[in-house]
């Protein structure tokens, strides 16, 4: 049975019967990656703030299959279909890609939006095979618009698909900076991947750890939680706030997770981001965040140079910034709706 999250505390099995236009967000994560959870939270906040005329309905990923026929039966021309953003378009996370194909190729008469994503199909037999399946599915929908969250992905989407492509930051950058009272910051937080995208060498991490040994305590974590089994639209905001609060207390964050950089931006926490297997964090950093002084990106492995880079971000003052104007292409798209 499909669950529809009408708002975080209202989960129903039937779609509401009213004349209000609906905004259906498919693929909402229930897994414990706080980056992806923050995206789905930001997506809801964005639509509720900027397009309050829509009733926002979330479908978590494991309910996608059950929900599709129900939505198909009730959907009207004024409704919008969307699939959640993230860094999983391509052949590395096939469960997500398959769900995307199904949603895109089903609701072909409605404005369909693939929320801000990075894309990576591997340049091997499996990657090319999966890319063809996605091309076939996406091109069935003439009303599908893809949103790229970095320029590399914008180029890749435009050369891979025939669909319209627009360009905005990751949705979490729509969130406003935290204006907490000045906290006492203490210690270093290492936020590190344990998945197939990991490329940072353990020796580099060990060297940075030795560098930062004067900044006690040193804590290791990941933005993928193992303290809970599942996260829902009901529970994500509290966990997100808790994570931001953790970041707010650090003198420095060392990470290879793009969203750990984003959380550092939101909390004014000095942060050094390192690479993943296909450059999604690096590109998003250069595209949107290079002007933010307390964060930086590096591919460096030389300890003396890393030390200097850490010094620069730790000595930087925070300042105002605003990425909201960068969502204008998305705003224009939704404003025009099916009449675009």
């Amino acid at each position: 049975m499909a669950n529809f999250y009408i708002n975080p505390n209202n989960v129903v099995n039937e779609l509401p019967k009213n004349d209000q236009p609906k905004f259906f967000m498919f693929g909402v994560p229930s897994y414990t990656n706080l980056g992806d959870q923050a995206i789905s939270l930001a997506e809801r906040k964005y639509i509720e703030a900027e397009f309050p005329e829509y009733q926002y309905i979330e479908i978590v990923e494991e309910d996608d299959d059950a929900a599709i026929p129900i939505v198909k039966q009730c959907i009207t021309r004024q409704d919008i279909v969307a699939f959640t953003g993230g860094g999983n378009m391509g052949n590395l996370y096939l469960n997500h890609e398959r769900a995307r194909r199904k949603v895109f190729s089903t609701f072909t008469n409605n404005l369909t939006i693939s929320f801000p994503q990075s894309i990576h199909f591997e340049d091997n037999e499996a990657g090319i095979y999966e890319q063809k399946l996605s091309q076939a599915a996406y091109q069935k929908n003439q009303n599908l618009v893809l949103v790229a969250r970095d320029a590399q992905s914008y180029h890749r989407m435009q050369t891979t698909f025939n669909n319209k492509v627009i360009f905005t930051p990751d949705m979490v950058l729509y969130m406003q900076p935290m204006n907490e009272k000045k906290l006492t910051r203490q210690g270093s937080l290492f936020v590190l991947r344990r998945d197939s995208e990991k490329v940072v060498k353990d020796t580099v991490i060990q060297n940075i750890k030795a560098l930062l040994s004067t900044h006690q305590p040193i804590e290791f974590t990941d933005t993928v939680l193992d303290t809970v089994k599942t996260i829902t639209p009901n529970t994500r905001e509290e966990l997100f706030k808790k994570e931001l609060s953790l970041f707010s207390g650090q003198e420095i964050v060392i990470t290879d997770r793009w969203h750990a950089m984003v959380f550092s931006v939101l909390t004014g926490t000095p942060c050094l981001l390192m690479g993943n297997s296909y450059g999604k964090g690096k590109h998003a950093y250069f595209d949107w965040l290079e002007h933010i002084n307390w964060i930086s990106y590096t591919d460096e492995e030389d300890t003396a140079r890393i030390k200097q880079e850490i010094k620069v971000v730790m000595e930087a003052s925070t300042h105002a910034y605003d990425l909201r104007p960068d969502f204008k292409q998305l705003h224009d798209l939704i404003s025009l709706g099916v009449d675009r």
Copy 2:
């Protein structure tokens, strides 16, 4: 008296009287920067290839003032007004910025397109003053669309102006790669700025020169010619081809000029690009060209590391690439015309 270049060999003082929709391109360079000349050539080739229904009319920059009232008298709703692209939006090249303001604030009833640009207003009194003047001028035109040629400029334009902003590569990247017979390449070409955007240290250049002393001859040049006084739409294509031919003969190009990298892309010439004062080449490289193997960008000053980077691009094989799909937002804009 204003000159209108109907096509490169047909210069007239009166606008043609016919029913064909017109595409007016203002600000066309007559100065001897081959990068900007290549842009204006690519702009004509783009419109003539993709929108042959338009009569393409160029106005070189020194004729802008005289041409504005003439165009104003003849223009009809179906016509499009454009201002040439480049890397000069901002307060560093005020003659261009002033001409842009005048054109944008005059033709407010026509689709007006600022072709792909980088933008840089300095963060000082002069920069802020000029930025306000530009904001006032641009916002008079609700039909003005700005095109950013890198993500940093896309962000800056969206946070500076209220106008719609779209995202495409530099127009020269619309040009097709040269398919000349395999040339014998010999020697190194240093293509270096002598202007206010220069930041690369002379010692770094001297060290690279020493590195490449085995690749004789070593030649120094700039993409700004001093062998001619002026370039017009009549003469630019021949000079552009001559420049590409010069690049085609090199084993390696070392440069801080973005268009020297672009010419290296077009000719399959190994190239290492270094920075300018505000990162326009760096950002455009990461946004559009990182997947092209025979070119690279560096901020490095360490000779051993630069040596390694040069080795990588010199050993890379050329491969097919296609940036034409990346102009889709511009294509859609012009296709819709005033009915967008």
